[in-house]
């Protein structure tokens, strides 16, 4: 058992009774837990109060904790993130929600020039301990304005942490760690798997989280440390690095092809679990990186460079990337764009050919 998994199990012990939850319920449970635990936690965002958020992640929380702790905001991402910086300076732990990651750009200056650099420029006098939650990724016919995966932009910014869960269990444990963290964090929620894992076959019946071990979520407090990857499957043939929805797609492809891959769910892109990546690639000698975001300058490029720099003499084949295409997300051609089983399968065949 890896160190990460041991830490995970140890932490889970604190959470008490478990309950079956989908990802939305797990996120709601994490927010509920932290609102109860710490008076300084405050939730703000468009439609998150009375209505409970367009994806219902904050449902019932305003009723439970009151309007001054969970409240709706004007439609102004720059305002939402900017006031969160000020709240952090006061001593609160704001958790702003940006309704879709595609809408985060108007708030980008407050995130990358202000929140991310506040600790540095004030030499630690002021900090911005905020967790910006935002649903991201495609596969829901959201068109070009509800489907983007902008995570690479944030990983490029010094001072920001980027976290992406792939299961209900992780969503709760990681979100709690993010809220407790004293650095600004971007918490991207893969909305395609809010209600159930996705195997990449758009024409198969939708799945839900029922019966899955990773959807058994402790009802109480537990946390999963940032910077620790999760080993999804063990295998010797190749290492697959993935996060979010693509963890499940990669897993399904390997199962159907009968490939024994070691799939690492990275969970946090910054800080990155380089030790887990190195250990796995050095053992398997082959590496495939999978993400939904556009290819050029995507986070896969960083992963590929790291693996090449650090594991070159262990590699038996070039590092491969499977990604979205370098186009905006097309509404009607969504399933042609999505990096699904065909693209992943071909890449695996290529890596394993020698």
């Amino acid at each position: 058992m890896s160190e990460a998994m041991e830490a995970q199990d140890a932490a889970a012990g604190e959470g008490g009774e478990t309950k079956h939850m989908n990802m939305i319920e797990a996120i709601n449970s994490a927010l509920d837990c932290m609102l109860a635990k710490d008076d300084d936690v405050i939730l703000l965002g468009e439609d998150i109060g009375y209505f409970g958020g367009v994806f219902r992640c904050t449902a019932g929380l305003q009723e439970k904790y009151g309007k001054t702790r969970v409240f709706d905001t004007p439609i102004s991402e720059c305002g939402i993130i900017g006031v969160a910086v000020g709240m952090g300076a006061y001593g609160l732990r704001p958790v702003p929600e940006i309704q879709f990651a595609d809408y985060i750009y108007p708030g980008l200056d407050q995130l990358i020039s202000e929140a991310a650099r506040l600790r540095y420029r004030s030499a630690g006098e002021f900090i911005a301990p905020m967790t910006v939650r935002s649903p991201f990724g495609g596969g829901i016919f959201g068109g070009q304005t509800h489907s983007q995966s902008p995570e690479a932009i944030f990983t490029h910014v010094a001072g920001l942490k980027t976290v992406i869960p792939a299961t209900p269990y992780d969503a709760k444990g990681l979100l709690i760690s993010c809220i407790e963290d004293n650095d600004p964090v971007i918490f991207f929620e893969p909305k395609r798997i809010y209600n159930g894992p996705f195997d990449g076959y758009y024409d198969r019946p939708a799945k839900n989280w029922k019966g899955r071990e990773d959807a058994q979520v402790p009802e109480g407090y537990y946390s999963i440390p940032l910077g620790k990857a999760r080993t999804v499957t063990e295998g010797d043939q190749l290492t697959i690095l993935a996060y979010g929805t693509m963890v499940h797609v990669a897993e399904a492809v390997c199962r159907e092809k009968g490939v024994e891959a070691e799939i690492l769910d990275l969970r946090t892109l910054v800080p990155l679990d380089i030790e887990a990546i190195e250990a796995s690639v050095e053992r398997t000698g082959r590496c495939l990186i999978v993400h939904e975001a556009t290819r050029t300058s995507g986070f896969g490029a960083e992963l590929s460079a790291l693996v090449t720099e650090r594991c070159f003499y262990h590699l038996e084949a070039p590092v491969e990337r499977v990604t979205g295409f370098d186009t905006p997300y097309p509404h009607s051609l969504e399933w042609a764009y999505f990096p699904g089983p065909v693209r992943i399968g071909e890449a695996i065949d290529k890596i394993l050919q020698d």
Partner: protein
Amino acid sequence: MAKATDRAAGDKGSNRPKLALHVPEPRYRPGDTVDFSHLGITEPGAQPRPDETAEARETYPLCDDLIRVLGDDDKAHGPWDPRLDADTLRRMLREMALVRAFDNRMYRAQRQGKTSFYMKCTGEEATSVCATHALAGDDMIFPSYRQQGCLIARGYELTEMVNQIYSNKGDKLKGRQLPIMYCSKRLSFFSISGNLATQLPQATGFAMASASKGDSRIAATWVGEGSTAEGDFHSALTFATVYNAPVIFNVINNQWAISSFSGFAGAERATFAARAIGYGMAGLRVDGNDPLAVYAAERWAADRARSNGGPTLIEHFTYRAEGHSTSDDPSQYRSAEERGEWTLGDPVMRLKDHLIALGEWSEEQQEAQDAELDDMVKAAMKEGEKNGILGHGLHHPFATMFEDVFEELPWHLEEQSEQAIREREIKFPEGLKK
């Protein structure tokens, strides 16, 4: 390739009138004779003073007016006279003069190559010093880059300011910020950003947080008139009114945003104070060179915020007597006469003359104080220089470059830190050349 001027079929031969693009132009350029009589400066004391708890709309006539207290007779007039005691007036005068002495010395230090950059606030001293006096000591200040007066009014040590400007080993910001981008949590002075107007939503957030905690601290923030064009300004005003946040927005209308006159921020159409009207927020337009009027307006807004009356936008109508920064040459874009002709005078001289008129001060005392303050600044500079000046020596351990990016050092920064330290002996075997 299609041209922007291509027209749709059928438009040819249209007899519709031609549209014209308006590009604002300041009244005076280098060489022009200046006449500020168009400003229509109002009589001191003539402006009504609504109660601090009044409906926002009662302030709207003041958004187009100009609150003034000190008259040409050097006496205080009208309902906005804050009736400050002589000690307070002398203290404000001393601090404004200290800001000026500090600016003058540091400007020269930049010219002598001791630092990279400096920004004076000559002519605008009242908008920071006197406004700060109207706040409580723990009210949070979210400054822009020309509010050194706020720090001086709160008694910040001059040597700390010098250390920051020189980015030397005494700089508690570890040499990371541009000169003049101070920060002091102890004095409730927020870290300055070079990205304009970002401090406005932050001040609003701080005020919202304070209100949500049932605290009594309010927030005050400063922004130049040019930066009111930034989206952050509008987001901040929206949030402030929506949540009735206890925050004061100080817009310093010093007429120039580097070389762009205030017309490029919309001044040809409306005053900056009038921006408040669209948001349903209280708004005041004040003579920014009148120390008593600045104090009175800020105090009014602070009292209003503290009694849950909500936010106020104050336009301080003033003039940037110097260049934007040491990297700017105003003689290239504005008439050299402007400074001398500025019809609202100089805030330091106006307060000095007022105190003399009250029989509480004299020209001799002013002269002696100026000499004393200059010595004080010189001593602080000397003290600061012991810690080094910018570009002469590597003042901070290399590892500090990687600290405070995150609370804890992650592996990639640890590796990069080790690299920087390894390179040190190759790149700088004897330190930076002097």
